[in-house]
């Protein structure tokens, strides 16, 4: 995570007041695992259960998207991002797209 930016998915940062708005900030990433992981996931898919390789892929993608969004917010001079939303989609086989967006604000 980049520095100590406050991240929430509420409209405000509870206990603080918003003093300035900077508008929408977003970060997205599309990631894939190497073919070995895909083959292992394909085999695991036969018996079902958690596909750890893909869970890892998803959480890496989520961290990356949040990081990019935070960097954008910091570049604007914000110290918090409120009302964060995540959106996922599968753009291609074995790849995960994760999009994070929120409102960059300054809180006091």
């Amino acid at each position: 995570m980049v520095s100590n930016l406050l991240l929430t998915n509420l409209e405000t940062v509870p206990g603080r007041t918003i003093v300035e708005h900077y508008g929408l900030v977003s970060g997205s990433t599309v990631r894939a695992k190497h073919i070995g992981r895909d083959i292992m996931a394909g085999l695991k898919n036969l018996v079902g259960g958690e596909l750890k390789g893909y869970t890892e892929l998803l959480s890496d993608a989520r961290n990356e998207a949040v990081k990019r969004m935070s960097q954008q917010a910091e570049a604007l001079g914000a110290n918090a991002v409120v009302n964060i939303r995540f959106s996922t989609s599968s753009v291609s086989a074995g790849a995960a797209e994760l999009y994070a967006y929120g409102t960059a604000v300054k809180v006091a």
Binding site: T8, G48, L51, F86
Partner: protein, 146 residues
């Protein structure tokens, strides 16, 4: 032997798959009981009369798939239509697991507000047939009161 292998695969997947599902449900129930003190709710406003020490974004994610046996059965079910029970239990497991992981990432929190669940399918084949795996991201704001 060669022609028998899909049959072995079918019943093998059934046996292993159902034992994995049973184990997963047992673990979900045990962990849900442990994390009962952190309510995760879609309410947006924190309690007004308590001071808030910390508020931060917490997330949990998981990818779960069904076994081969259930996929074949669901395929047969689609001919007649109706409830696909195997997929119902799949999404149920995935959502509860994602919420649990989110809760476990903030054991010191008093509540998680504005809980959201994001679900999508992972596709592997070209003809837009999913591999029967579902990915769930659960997120919310963890609140710690004084």
């Amino acid at each position: 032997m060669f022609y028998g292998s899909p049959v072995i695969l079918f019943f093998g997947a059934w046996w292993i798959g159902s034992s994995i599902e049973k184990k997963h449900y047992a673990s979900i129930q045990a962990r849900e009981a442990q994390t009962l003190h952190i309510p995760a709710v879609p309410i947006r406003t924190p309690e007004a009369d308590r001071t808030i020490l910390e508020a931060r974004l917490v997330t949990g994610c998981v990818v779960v798939s069904n076994d081969y046996f259930k996929k074949v059965l669901a395929g047969l079910r689609k001919i007649f239509g109706g409830r696909l029970r195997s997929y119902e239990s799949l999404v149920d497991r995935a959502r509860r697991e994602a919420v649990l992981r989110m809760k476990e990432s903030c054991p010191e929190a008093h509540a998680i507000l504005n809980l959201r669940l994001e679900t999508s399918m992972i596709s592997q084949t070209q003809r837009d047939r999913g591999m029967g795996a579902v990915e769930v991201v659960a997120y919310g704001t963890a609140i710690r009161y004084e």
